[in-house]
Symmetry: C2
Subunit: 218 residues, 2 copies
Amino acid sequence: MTADLTTHPTVGEAPDGIVLTTLPRDEPIDAATAAARRVVDALLRTDRGAADLIRVTEVLDGIADQLEEHAPEVADRLLDMWKGEGVTGHDPVTGRENAIAPPLRLVGRSEGHVEGVVTLSLPYQGPPGHVHGGVSALLLDHTLGVANAWAGQSGATAQLNVRYHRPTPLFEPLTVRGRLETVDGRKITTVGDIRTADGTVCVSVEALFVDRTVPRPR
Amino acid sequence: MTADLTTHPTVGEAPDGIVLTTLPRDEPIDAATAAARRVVDALLRTDRGAADLIRVTEVLDGIADQLEEHAPEVADRLLDMWKGEGVTGHDPVTGRENAIAPPLRLVGRSEGHVEGVVTLSLPYQGPPGHVHGGVSALLLDHTLGVANAWAGQSGATAQLNVRYHRPTPLFEPLTVRGRLETVDGRKITTVGDIRTADGTVCVSVEALFVDRTVPRPR
C-alpha cells in the first residue's frame, strides 16, 4: 500500500483503536457492493439445478450494462479513485466498494500494530473448508502495508515470505495482524500473522518493503 | 492445490497445451458467474453519482435472496463441490464458478511447466493502475499447485516466497507460469513468475510444498 503520509493517522498521534480502513458509510455504492458480495457468495452456494440461473444471468447482465453506461473512461476513473475518494475504499482486501474484498476492517493499536477480524466464506476457499493459501497471502500483504502507514512509513513490497503453519478455517473469525519491526535505511521489515479465535497461528509472514520517500545514499 | 492424482493429467502422459483448469462450458452457472464478474467490475468503474445505485442494490439483494433460497446447508454444498463437481470450478483463481476469480486458464506444457494468460482490471488493483502485490501472490500460489499436479505431485504449501521486481500493470495481458523444480523426499520446490507480453518479469516466486502422500521416514 502506498499511503498518503500527510493525512494517514499514525501511532502515537492517533488514538488506540482508530479505524484505518474506511468506515462503513451506508452510502449507495457501499450498499450496492455489499449486495454484489452476497451474490458472489450465493452463486457458489446455490443448488445448480434449482435456481433459475438463466434469469439471474439476464438480470445481472442488465445491471452491468446500466453501470457501464455511466462509467467514465478508465483513465478518468483512476484519477477519481486516487484523488477524490478515500484510497482504502476500492482495494481488494479492505475496500468496501470492491466486492472481491471480504472486506477486512483494520484498526491501529497504540502498542504499534494494526489488526482486524474477518470471517471468510466459500469465495475464498482453497482446500476443502479452508482458506486458500494465496488469499491468506493477499490479506497479509495488504495488512503489512497498512501497518507501515500506521508506523509513519511507506514503501513498495520487495519480498513477501509467507509460512503456512496449519490450515486456516473458513466460517470462523480470524484475526489478521501486522507490525513494522525495523527500519534500516530504505529497508522496512514488517511482520504479521493470521490466527484463529483461540490464538493459534495458522499463517505468518515477514516482508521487506523499500521506502521510496528516502533518497538513495550517494 | 490438492489434486486428485488418479485423474489429473500429467506431463508425458497428456498432450502439450492441455487445459488443466475447467473449460468454459457456457452452462447456466458459468454464465451467471460471468455476469456477476461484470457487475463487480462495473461497480468499481461506474460514476458514483450517475448510476441508480439504490435500484441496483434492490435488484442484487433480490438475486441473492433467490439464490440463497435454493442453497443447501454448507456441509452438503462442500460435499458436492469436492465430489460431484470439477475441483477447479470454484477456486478464487481459476474457478469459472467463482466471481472473484479472473478466471485464469492454465495449460500444461510438454517441457514441464504450466502457463496461462490473464488481463486484470480494477477489482485487482493495488498501486494506481497496477496489480495488487497480494493478488500476484494469490495467482502464483495457485499456479504452483497446478504445476505440481502437472508434474504428478501433490502437496500443501509450507512456504511461499514472493519477489516483486517491478510494478505489474493492469489492463494488459500477463503470462503466469509455474514449474516444479525439485523433489527431495517429502519436500517439493516449485517456482513461477508473472511477465508482461514482452517477457519482462514483474513478480517471481519460489515455494516449498510438503507432499502428504509420501509417508514420513521412520
